[in-house]
């Protein structure tokens, strides 16, 4: 625990140093980056220790703030979430040291690094705090720091708009959480987590709904996701990696803590989480398929994965309520494992997208192509990340989903609500997985493979050495985490036990141990067979010379890069089928003559929820508010009259 506090001090100190040195970009970069890496190394040790021993560590100090206390609690659940925080922020700092070099002199790098380190510190605070006030302090710091980072390229209209939406969503979420905490703390002397009594009846319902919406606005499940596809692409890439990889998980962490406060659970909690999660994962994958910007594809994929995690939480709650500890334990374990795996591969993918943006100057899919020849290492790492995102063995994305599937399929021995929940979960996972596979082959294929579609892509340059190091480290971690399934059972079990009780953890560990061993063994066999196949291929080729030629293209002599299948054409069969949901806008060519010389075609994926739900609702609220605009007429005397009338009213009410 002490080391965690030391890491906090390091982070805050280095951010202050970065601000101090802001006139000198190189020194502020050094201050920020070294501070972040040092803090990560310092913080990883206690996290791993707590996960292995399973014993929580607490530190509690009194604080002058009313209802608050500086109590930190590093239990296995918090440690499990801290692990990706430190890993990803450390590697993102290494990445950022290279990535931000291009902006030296044009942008305030000192401020950026300061905000980045404060963001990390705030997240650590959120995960380890055991007091409501401290939690909200960390929460708001997180929102403020990331807001600054989203505004990094504030000269772009898109970034400004994204920051508005982000700030609104964050503020609304914080308000809801404040309400939730105050409801919880009504009957207790302070807002310490340990002192919360478990609410019943109406209060419990209110707390659950407030927490669901409040944390949902941070985690980003449908329909509370509208800020995510705007904000994550607007921030610098290493910040996007951290935001998608760990910041949205604070919402999941908060939900898990609140589920702990609200036990015993009524039935409908689980069903709500299950249905929202299922809708999020299918719709998120579908929307990802329709986007044209590489970073937006990744943002919607984050929504999909958050949906999977939420769905697993819902499945666990339903199973626990209906008396199947095996299903519940497996579902919770799957959710937690997917949290960890997702942070690894999504961080890698965003870093890859950043490398593309850095090297080719654009992240628009239809302008890229053939980048694997100009940026071979980035391409390899991005493809590894895509394979992990599609939950393909031998990478790590598969293990978390496998545990959720296993929990869902255990429902075959039950009837009634458990069976229904299992079927819904399995079906949603299957559909979302297939859609995500389509989305990622499209994104990776259009950006990295084939021929470059524009000059920018043809002149792209490879990412810098530090960026490659960060991406390579994450790719290696993805592969290792995929192969090391059985070893992750111990920390997983401790985390599930800390969050939901020991019996569930034991049931999960028993059910999952053997399959995970088999999966790791099969993944190793897969790699072995691939290696043998490669060796045999070399043997078959022997001394023969391989010839080179143009792509056959059925004998077409002069193909141009624009004739390749691009992003919109690859997704067209699926997006046309789902058009009623996607509502993509298109401008199609109108042919009036027999031999048209020129025609143009464009499609655009619109933000469906934003345009169809939020904007009309906002317009209605605004119109309603205009009705009261007569209250603001500008006359000072009547404003003072308002004050006097209110004071008189309060006096009369109290007397």
């Amino acid at each position: 625990m002490l080391l965690v506090l030391i890491s906090l001090v390091l982070l805050l100190g280095s951010s202050a140093l970065a601000l101090l040195f802001r006139k000198n970009p190189a020194r502020s970069q050094d201050a920020g980056a070294y501070g972040a890496v040092a803090a990560s190394l310092a913080g990883l040790l206690p996290a791993v220790k707590v996960l292995i021993t399973g014993a929580p560590e607490t530190v509690s100090l009194p604080w002058a703030v009313p209802l608050g206390s500086l109590s930190f609690n590093l239990d296995p659940l918090a440690a499990f979430f801290l692990l990706p925080v430190y890993l990803l922020t450390g590697l993102a700092a290494v990445y950022g040291a290279d990535y931000l070099k291009a902006y030296a002199g044009r942008k305030p790098l000192g401020l950026a690094w300061a905000a980045f380190n404060v963001l990390t510190a705030a997240m650590v605070l959120v995960f380890t705090s055991a007091n409501g006030v401290l939690f909200m302090l960390g929460w708001e710091l997180m929102a403020a720091a990331s807001f600054l980072l989203v505004l990094f390229e504030h000269e772009k209209e898109q970034a400004r708009r994204a920051s508005y939406i982000y700030l609104t969503a964050g503020g609304a979420g914080a308000l809801l959480l404040l309400a939730a905490f105050s409801l919880l703390g009504q009957a207790s002397p302070s807002l310490d987590f340990a002192a919360f009594p478990h609410p019943q009846g109406q209060t419990a319902t209110a707390v659950f709904l407030l927490a669901l919406f409040g944390f949902g606005l941070k985690a980003g499940f449908i329909p509370l996701h509208v800020w995510l596809p705007e904000a994550h692409p607007a921030a610098p890439s290493q910040v996007s990696a951290v935001m998608s990889g760990v910041m949205i998980k604070t919402g999941i962490y908060g939900l898990m803590r609140f589920l702990g406060f609200l036990s015993p659970w009524p039935d409908w909690y689980g069903w709500t989480l299950l249905v929202i999660g299922a809708a999020s994962c299918v719709l998120g994958a579908l929307f990802a398929l329709a986007q044209h910007d590489l970073k937006r594809v990744l943002a919607y994929s984050s929504i999909e994965n958050i949906g999977i995690i939420l769905m697993a939480l819902g499945l666990g709650v339903v199973s626990a309520v209906h008396g199947s500890p095996v299903m519940a334990g497996l579902a919770f374990a799957g959710a937690l494992l997917h949290v960890f795996n997702h942070s690894l591969f999504k961080g890698l993918l965003f870093m890859g997208a950043g490398a593309v943006l850095h090297g080719a100057g654009t992240a628009e899919l239809e302008a890229l192509g053939g980048l694997s020849k100009r940026m071979p290492s980035t391409a390899a790492f991005f493809l590894a990340g895509s394979a992990a995102a599609c939950a393909l063995p031998p990478f790590n994305g598969f293990a978390g989903e496998f545990l959720i599937y296993l929990g869902a399929f255990k429902s075959v021995t039950y009837t009634g609500p458990l069976a229904l929940a299992g079927v819904i979960a399995a079906l949603a996972l299957a559909v979302a997985g297939a859609l995500a596979a389509a989305a990622f082959t499209r994104a990776a294929g259009t950006a990295f493979l084939g021929e470059p579609r524009t000059e920018k892509a043809a002149k792209a340059h490879e990412a810098g050495p530090l960026m490659l190091f960060a991406m390579g480290a994450l790719a290696l971690l993805c592969l290792l985490a995929g192969l090391a399934g059985p070893f992750l059972l111990l920390p997983l079990g401790s985390a599930v036990a800390a969050a939901f009780g020991l019996p569930l953890a034991v049931a999960a560990a028993e059910a999952a141990a053997v399959p995970l061993v088999y999966i790791s063994a099969s993944a190793l066999i897969l790699l072995l067979i691939a290696a043998i196949a490669m060796a045999r291929r070399k043997a078959f080729l022997g001394t023969k010379a391989t010839a080179e030629g143009p792509t056959w293209d059925c004998g077409y002599a002069a193909p141009s890069p624009r004739m390749q299948y691009g992003a919109s054409s690859f997704a067209q069969p699926l997006t046309d089928f789902f058009q009623p949901i996607l509502r993509k806008l298109g401008q199609y060519p109108v042919l009036t003559e027999y031999f048209p010389a020129k025609a143009s075609f464009s499609t655009e994926a619109q933000a469906v929820f934003y345009n169809s739900v939020y904007i009309p609702a906002a317009v209605k609220i605004r119109d309603l508010a205009y009705r009261f605009s007569w209250l603001q007429h500008g006359r000072l005397q009547i404003y003072i009259l308002y004050i006097v009338v209110t004071l008189m009213g309060l006096l009369l009410w109290k007397l």
Binding site: L427, G450, G549, T551, P561, F570
Partner: protein
Amino acid sequence: MEIVKPLFQILAAALLAPLLPGVVNRVKAVFAGRKGPPLEQLYYDLIKLLRKAPVYSRTSTWVFKAGPIAGFAALMTALAMLPFAGRPAALAFEGDFIFLVYLLGLARFGTVLAALDTGSAFEGMGASREMQFAVFAEPAFFLGLAALARITGEGSLAGMFGALTGETWRTAAPVLALLTASFFIVLLAENSRVPADDPNTHLELTMIHEAMVLDHSGPELAYILYGASLKLWLFGAVIGSMVLPRHSGSWASDSGMFLLVMFGVAAGVGVVESVLARLRLTKVPYLLITAFAFSALGLIFQMAR
């Protein structure tokens, strides 16, 4: 733990898989009044291709060479989990069918990326359609397996098919018939058979799987063709195990029966290919949704018992 028999099963599958496309082609030839190629034609093709020097497109990179290897490795690993005459497979564990479906996904991932790597319009076309069909075929397959797990109460492929006896067919015949129909449609779609796709066409706009391998040659093409025959064996094994309820207790006679049923499935595919015409491309998702409806019906029937 038995080693010899499961290993022998894997070996038999690996060696006999290329016979299945030969059976299919021979049945089609008989329907067309021709003599047709020999049953072992695919073996000759594979040997010929392995001896050739490949031609690579200048647009392609290492991804082009890695795709077929990924597909081959994934399908060979999947072989180890397949049911064979209702006996335990080499790698049988709870939830292995989930791993199997995702191994197929890995093979598809590798093939699609290799296709996109050539920068050819036709290969992109095939890749895009392949991913579209997967969105409809995978849930149908999963639901069918869920229904089968519910009927037999088992969690692993070998367990499910091992528990499927004549008695199960007597009590749950309608559901099992629906599931077999659904799995057969998925087989036709995943292995690029009529009516989902035509493996013999070389018309650009009608190719899906054929289009994706246009640029491959030499050993890569050999890996791809062999992988395709493994995939046919895989789905054929699932269907064969569903319709083969009898377990006589003798491993040799059971295995012999199983091989016969496999060739019977391949012959059935040949008959379907000869009798039906290829569906219009926009109707193929409807065919797969029909398979999904069959699986869903089977599952609902089973849950309502």
